[in-house]
């Protein structure tokens, strides 16, 4: 419920800042929705492993003999369901609020689905590397934003081109490639990062 309210409030902030002109908002809508997705991924990633790190259960997971990468993936996917997937389901409403052409809504939902998965995976890697560090949230943002820029570019291109009437399959395919790569490599990177953080 909190994440829904967060999305709604951030989407409301943009017209307040940019002016209520529907034509302008319609052009900017893909970018606005993608920035909302990125911000939510950043805030969620900051909290991914910190609770488990604080109370010692992360250390128990690491020595328990279960593959640490899969445990981390379970955590990341659970958080994705609550943040990214929720955004996907609610995005048509926001698209209507921001006057985006309705023909682009399927592309929007598909790109957000694949893209938020990528964002959650990269967020998990960043969180694994910064979980024990002081002021880790700021460092996490610094580390995460460069990694997520390709996803952002592909996602907004997909939706903008769909809004103009073109076929956006190539952008979705590129994002799907990133997602597949992330699904395979993120467990490795997260396990390595968590073990490094636990060593600190």
């Amino acid at each position: 419920m909190n994440s829904l309210l967060f999305f709604l409030m951030v989407v409301t902030l943009f017209p307040l800042g940019l002016g209520p002109d529907p034509v302008v908002l319609g052009e900017l809508a893909p970018g606005i929705l993608w920035v909302v997705a990125l911000l939510s991924a950043l805030t969620v990633s900051g909290r991914l492993f910190s609770a488990d790190f604080e109370d010692g259960s992360l250390e128990q997971l690491a020595v328990s003999g279960h593959p640490l990468g899969l445990c981390a993936m379970a955590e990341v996917l659970a958080h994705w369901c609550l943040s990214g997937l929720t955004l996907v389901l609610v995005s048509p409403v926001f698209a209507l609020m921001l006057n985006m052409p309705t023909s682009a809504i399927p592309a929007l939902m598909l790109s957000l689905a694949i893209g938020t998965l990528c964002l959650s995976l990269f967020g998990g890697i960043g969180a694994a590397l910064t979980v024990g560090v002081r002021r880790g949230a700021l460092l996490l943002s610094l580390l995460l934003i460069p990694l997520t820029v390709p996803v952002l570019i592909f996602g907004t291109s997909a939706v903008s081109e769909a809004a103009l009437g073109y076929d956006s399959t190539r952008w979705l395919a590129l994002m799907a490639a990133l997602a597949i790569m992330g699904l395979i490599l993120a467990p490795l990177a997260m396990a390595a990062g968590l073990r490094i953080s636990l060593e600190n």
């Binding site: 910064t130 460092l139 460069p146 820029v149 390709p150 490094i196 060593e199």
Partner: protein, 243 residues
């Protein structure tokens, strides 16, 4: 050959190697830099469309090329450090990060200076320019992560993981000019077939690119020597070398 590679992993050997290399190569490279810059700035012919303002290419392109390559050097050092656990690779990675960041910054600033007379704007959100800005963030992220950990060895491991994860961005930067319509000139130097740039402008550019690579290597070696001095300050071999 493997013996040679393992020799690089030894601090005393590397320190002596770096000192000799810097003593002999730095003067040559600095002279070559002066030659390249003078050739490019004074003797290369003016461009028929851009006139003389294109000459900043002789700083801009070498800086950008070495900045991109430098990230791979850093990522490779990270890989060596993680897989073979060679401490010298940690030192190398830590040495490359600020140098790469500085080169990226130089590329962005010279590009901006070039852009003002040719495109009319100091900054445009073009694909390649934005990707170079992201590369700067990646470098600065590695520097920040090194500073965040107190334990040096753990810091190096974390940065190795980060550099390896960041390498996905480099091919995207490289291909970005081909994938998106942009203001940036598409690649003129080709390894096969005719280059789109004239020979009289190409040679000083290639010279400067080579010089920047050599300077990068020398500056990284200087940084590594400083790091070795800091870490092994009281070691017997170091006191012997310093006299």
């Amino acid at each position: 050959m493997w013996t040679l590679i393992h020799k690089f992993g030894s601090p005393p050997w590397f320190y002596r190697f770096a000192t000799t290399a810097i003593r002999w190569l730095l003067p040559i490279v600095l002279v070559a830099l002066v030659v390249g810059c003078v050739w490019g700035l004074l003797y290369a012919p003016p461009d028929f469309r851009q006139g003389n303002s294109y000459r900043i290419i002789y700083i801009h392109v070498p800086a950008a090329v070495v900045a991109l390559a430098g990230y791979y050097v850093m990522a490779f050092a990270g890989l060596v450090s993680l897989v073979w656990k060679i401490k010298m690779a940690d030192t190398a990675m830590r040495a490359v990060a600020p140098v790469g960041a500085a080169l990226t910054f130089i590329a962005l600033v010279t590009g901006s200076i070039w852009g003002k007379p040719t495109w009319g704007a100091w900054w445009v959100w073009d694909a390649r320019i934005t990707s170079m800005l992201i590369l700067l963030f990646l470098y600065l992220g590695v520097v920040a992560l090194f500073e965040a950990y107190e334990n040096q060895e753990v810091a190096a491991k974390a940065c190795a993981v980060l550099s390896l994860v960041g390498t996905v961005n480099i091919p995207i930067i490289y291909k970005s000019v081909d994938w998106w319509y942009s203001l940036h000139q598409p690649a003129s130097i080709k390894f096969t077939g005719e280059s789109a740039i004239d020979a009289s402008m190409l040679y000083p550019l290639l010279l400067n690119i080579g010089v920047f690579y050599a300077l990068f290597a020398l500056v990284v070696m200087m940084n590594m020597r400083a790091a070795l001095l800091e870490r092994h300050g009281k070691a017997a071999w170091l006191r012997e070398v310093l006299g």
